[in-house]
């Protein structure tokens, strides 16, 4: 019963939570740059505007692919919030991303195609750590099931601090933050217009944004997984940890410039090896 309620709450509230976090992000970013920034509910205004615009789509398949992206992300998040298999959740997350890549490359725009190929590079960069992460949770807690992981006597972060560091590194890619916002960016004026989303107008862009909000919630849910244990006080601790980590991502976004794809790939794999790999070896030895 709890699982059903949790999934329904996730499906209903995740877009709102994501949009609120985005509003928070935009204000904090503006303040860091010495500006006032937009209203807190700006993401909601943007969404309702996008839905009221004319639907310009180069082909019909783009809408279908973007909807698939949304559905797969929602399903991946539901698996996490239902307490199901973390491995399956992470697999679904990559499947969802493949739909986004296909949606972007379904039209003839060279900018969107370039964004799609960069998105695939980004997937190459973060995928090793996400897979290692699932195995790390298994080694630390003896189960792939989220429901078992959050009912351990101690938070799993004590066993896998390296994984948390590595995960924070790749979350910058997933949240499309500088220095890893290669495929598309929240900021204007870049070398390839809007990358992935160049040919997405009005309602299609709105669906893409909602999918991103599901993704933000999902990523923060995985961060919370590091901190949750069987004690009640781990829940407020996890929420604080998530918000702190989100703040760190915003800070990183504002103090760094975009890197080249080679640096992205190299740095992500080195960080994966140093944080995830080392933590993995230690867990194997002590278990």
């Amino acid at each position: 019963m709890m699982r059903v309620v949790s999934v329904i709450l996730y499906l209903l509230l995740a877009p709102f939570a994501g949009a609120l976090l985005d509003g928070f992000d935009r204000i904090i970013t503006a303040r860091m740059q010495g500006r006032k920034g937009p209203p807190f509910f700006q993401p909601f205004y943007d969404l309702s505007k996008l839905f009221s615009k004319q639907m310009i789509a180069v082909n019909g398949v783009q809408l279908l692919l973007i909807l698939s992206y949304l559905v797969f992300l929602a399903v991946a998040g539901s698996m996490l919030f239902a307490g199901a298999d973390i491995l399956m959740c992470l697999f679904l997350l990559s499947t969802a991303d493949m739909f986004l890549v296909m949606a972007a490359s379904s039209d003839s725009s060279p900018f969107a195609t370039m964004g799609a190929s960069r998105e695939m590079l980004q997937m190459m960069a973060y995928e090793p750590l996400t897979l290692l992460l699932a195995v790390g949770f298994y080694l630390a807690t003896g189960s792939f099931q989220v429901v078992d992981i959050i009912h351990m006597p101690l938070s799993s972060v004590l066993m896998m601090p390296g994984f948390l560091l590595g995960f924070m590194f790749i979350t910058a890619i997933k949240l499309r933050k500088s220095p890893f916002d290669l495929s598309t960016s929240h900021h204007a004026h870049q070398e390839m217009v809007k990358g992935l989303t160049t040919e997405m107008a009005g309602p299609i862009l709105a669906i893409m944004n909602i999918a991103e909000y599901y993704e933000i919630t999902l990523m923060l849910g995985i961060v919370a997984l590091f901190f949750l244990n069987q004690n009640w006080w781990s829940w407020p601790l996890a929420i604080v940890a998530c918000l702190f980590m989100y703040f760190l991502e915003i800070l990183w976004d504002n103090v760094s410039a975009r890197v080249k794809w080679r640096t992205l790939l190299d740095s992500c794999w080195v960080v994966t090896l140093l944080t995830g790999g080392l933590n993995f070896l230690i867990l194997m030895l002590i278990k």
């Binding site: 503006a30 920034g37 700006q42 205004y45 943007d46 009221s52 204007a188 004026h189 809007k194 160049t198």
Partner: protein
């Protein structure tokens, strides 16, 4: 305030300007003027823009580009001509290569004169554009309801 009024995204294109007005347009996004407090985003993508800001007069080379950008913007949309060159052609009006203001190529809704147009005037023009955008949105919505799509 309606939906569009709170989230007007603008696209900035330089027809053949001397860059004076362009610098003033960019000044609007800096901490001093900060147009993002109105929800305005300076996007680079015509597919996602509501307001087209054009600086400089139109010459035979930029004509096709302006037409294409305009056609790529989804309805409802508003065009703002920033600076006297974009309004009428300005001091370049008599040049052999200049066609004149932006309205010789695409319909212009708001004219912001000045050489260069000051950031305050540009923001004023954009706010006027937002009001017009809202009217166009209502017309667009009723038209869409009538046609049933």
């Amino acid at each position: 305030m309606g939906k569009l009024a709170k989230s007007p995204w603008m696209l900035h294109y330089d027809g053949s300007s001397c860059n004076g007005c362009d610098i003033e347009v960019l000044a609007c996004t800096t901490p001093v003027y900060d147009v993002e407090r109105f929800g305005i985003i300076n996007t680079g993508d015509p597919f996602q823009a509501d307001i087209l800001l054009i600086t400089g007069g139109i010459n035979s080379q930029s004509e096709s580009v302006v037409k294409q950008i305009y056609s790529q913007m989804p309805n409802p949309k508003v065009v703002v001509a920033v600076g006297i060159c974009a309004c009428t052609g300005g001091i370049f009006k008599e040049c052999y290569n200049i066609k004149g203001g932006v309205d010789t190529v695409i319909p212009v809704d708001i004219y912001v004169p000045g050489c260069a147009a000051r950031p305050q005037a540009i923001i004023d023009g954009v706010v006027k554009a937002v009001e017009l955008l809202q009217k166009k949105r209502e017309a667009f919505a009723s038209q869409r309801k009538k046609s049933g799509t």
